[in-house]
């Protein structure tokens, strides 16, 4: 498998505090990767750096061989990096369908058009409806995003990112705030979509059940650096991971 994304000695500092300390992080084509670590380990900061919300102080970020370190968010999205957010970020006053359609309009460069009616663009709406049914949200197509349940909002967040047709999808705690019974269906949906389309995914997760059930590879971070990197089996037996993370990971059912 070839390397899709690589960071080389990337650093992010906030005053005295090094949130990300010379991290070499890799995501390979077609894999589902879990990024774990206790709070403050630097996971979200790393994702923020890669997705473009923050700029790295030092180091480089390479995506499909290209140096994207200084590129603005828009360019990175066009290159194929998309993400969802830990605190769900949606267009609350627009319907679920509108939310996804917007991502499609943007992807197709149509948001520049101000003298054509958005509703008239049937292909976009057809695609948006498809995406929603893929994520099992079609029943709620016309509901305002602000009125969806937490689980539905999480899925919609991912659906929007998916609608950008990325090569690499970052999911920041896709099941946080969701009831335990809902977690599995949500993850099943997301992971099956991602695998069937060959999209690489990097998932920040705290729930170890989720982590061990769905990932090909696990990267554990601690205090801004990568502690361990390997398959679920390797990580499960890794001393450092066991001691620094709260509780021992349970084997998946």
């Amino acid at each position: 498998m070839s390397v899709l994304l690589e960071t080389k000695a990337v650093v992010k500092q906030f005053g005295e505090f090094r949130a990300v300390d010379r991290v070499d992080f890799r995501v390979q084509e077609g894999e589902v990767l879990a990024l774990i670590g206790s709070n403050g380990a630097g996971k979200t900061t790393l994702v923020n750096l890669i997705s473009g919300l923050l700029t790295a102080d030092e180091g480089r970020i390479l995506f499909r061989g290209q140096d994207v370190t200084k590129q603005p968010v828009k360019e990175r999205i066009r290159a194929g990096i998309a993400r969802s957010f830990q605190l769900v970020n949606l267009f609350d006053q627009l319907s679920a369908l509108d939310n996804v359609a917007l991502a499609i309009f943007s992807r197709q460069g149509k948001t520049r058009r101000l003298l054509t009616l958005a509703d008239a663009d049937r292909p976009v709406w057809a695609e948006a409806t498809e995406v929603l049914s893929l994520f099992r949200l079609d029943a709620k197509a016309r509901t305002l995003a602000g009125g969806l349940s937490q689980g539905e909002r999480k899925l919609l967040d991912v659906a929007i990112a998916y609608a950008l047709k990325p090569r690499l999808l970052f999911l920041d705690e896709p099941t946080s705030g969701v009831g335990t019974r809902e977690k599995a269906p949500i993850m099943d949906t997301i992971v099956s979509i991602v695998r069937s389309e060959g999209i690489s995914a990097a998932i920040i997760e705290h729930d170890m059940d989720v982590v061990f059930s769905y990932s090909d590879r696990i990267v554990a971070m601690h205090q801004g650096t990568i502690l361990a990197d390997g398959t679920p089996d390797q990580i499960r037996r890794d001393e450092r991971v066991l001691t620094t993370l709260i509780g021992t990971p349970e084997p998946p059912r």
Binding site: K74, F85, N89, L94, A101, F105, L115, A118, D119
Partner: protein, 332 residues
């Protein structure tokens, strides 16, 4: 995250709205034949202000930016016309409109670059400050702008043929009224298309969640800037239409208090709807013409109503009406 308690009713069939537009349109079309000249001219004022409010609301209702400086663009439109008459001797209304558009594009392009990088408070005060700068410039360069006396503007020539020579009032109450109505309808149509276009949706996305909009690849500053310019141009056109009705243009339309009126109109009508600002402008126009006669403290009156509106009826006239109708349609 903002927690606005409004009910936005997603209408997928804009055709449904058109049925109540039809009778209104009928009334607008026959008015000069059934009402007296004063009423018609008054409504012409209202329609001109409605265009300004419509433009303003592209920024507030759809992009989430509250400008306290729209007086600047209204004034730019009005003064552009006055200066065209004074220095170029141009009397064609079409050229006046063109001049107003060009002038507002220039001014909003420059002001916009400064303003749209900031949101909310900074944006609001910056727009207010810029309008005040223009206002003070109108005084300082009095040999150009006529200072406090302003500049007189004669009635323009419509479509190259119809002039106001002779009975000016009759001209304003008939030919000019229809001209204003026509421009108003065109503006409404254009604005409607804009807000329902992919660009319009992108603006709403920026309003709702700037970060997410950024993360679906929308260039935030650039789109805000374009919205700023569009908004200013509509308001500039309104200014150009207003000048012949008023006969002259003075610096007070550049003062922030005039912006206050525009803000008030949009809030009164309901800034989260498309027609709200139109209704608000027309209603306000009537309110002001009757109240100004009664009291010099119209600012107090406006301010109190604004506060009351924001406290208890934040969705304005149209928003509240929609909510009431929705409740009647779906009884619990």
């Amino acid at each position: 995250m903002s927690t606005v308690t409004t009910v936005v009713i997603p209408t997928r069939s804009p055709m449904r709205r058109l049925w109540y537009a039809a009778p209104v349109l009928m009334v607008l079309l026959v008015l000069p034949w059934v009402a007296d000249q004063y009423q018609t001219i008054l409504l012409a004022y209202g329609l001109a202000m409605a265009i300004a409010a419509l433009g303003f609301n592209l920024l507030l209702g759809y992009t989430g930016l509250l400008s306290f400086g729209h007086s600047a663009y209204f004034g730019v439109g009005a003064y552009a016309v006055a200066l065209m008459v004074k220095y170029l001797g141009v009397t064609s209304m079409e050229l006046h409109l063109l001049g107003a558009i060009v002038a507002s594009v220039l001014v909003t392009a420059i002001f916009g670059v400064a303003c749209v990088r900031y949101t909310r408070i900074f944006f609001g005060i910056l727009t207010m400050a810029l309008s005040q700068v223009l206002w003070s410039l109108a005084f300082k360069f009095f040999w150009v702008t006529g200072g406090t006396d302003g500049l007189r503007v004669p009635t323009p020539t419509l479509l190259g043929v119809v002039t106001g020579k002779g009975d000016k009032i009759a001209f304003l109450a008939h030919a000019y009224y229809y001209y204003v109505l026509a421009v108003f309808l065109v503006c409404v149509a254009v604005m409607w298309v804009i807000v329902n276009s992919p660009f319009g949706r992108a603006l709403q996305a920026i309003r709702d969640n700037e970060t997410r909009a950024q993360f679906i690849g929308i260039p935030i500053w650039r789109y805000r800037w374009v919205a700023f310019m569009l908004s200013g141009v509509f308001t500039g056109v309104a200014g150009a239409l207003w000048v012949p009705l008023n006969g002259l243009t003075t610096p007070d339309i550049l003062h922030w208090t005039f912006s206050g009126k525009i803000v008030f109109m949009a809030v009164l009508g309901g800034f989260r709807t498309f027609v709200g600002p139109i209704v608000g402008a027309v209603v306000y126009n009537y309110l002001e013409s009757y109240a100004v006669g009664y009291t010099v403290y119209w600012q107090l009156f406006l301010g109190v109503i604004l506060v009351v509106l924001v406290l208890s009826l934040p969705t304005g006239i149209v928003g509240t009406a929609e909510r009431l109708m929705a409740r009647r349609r779906a009884p619990r």
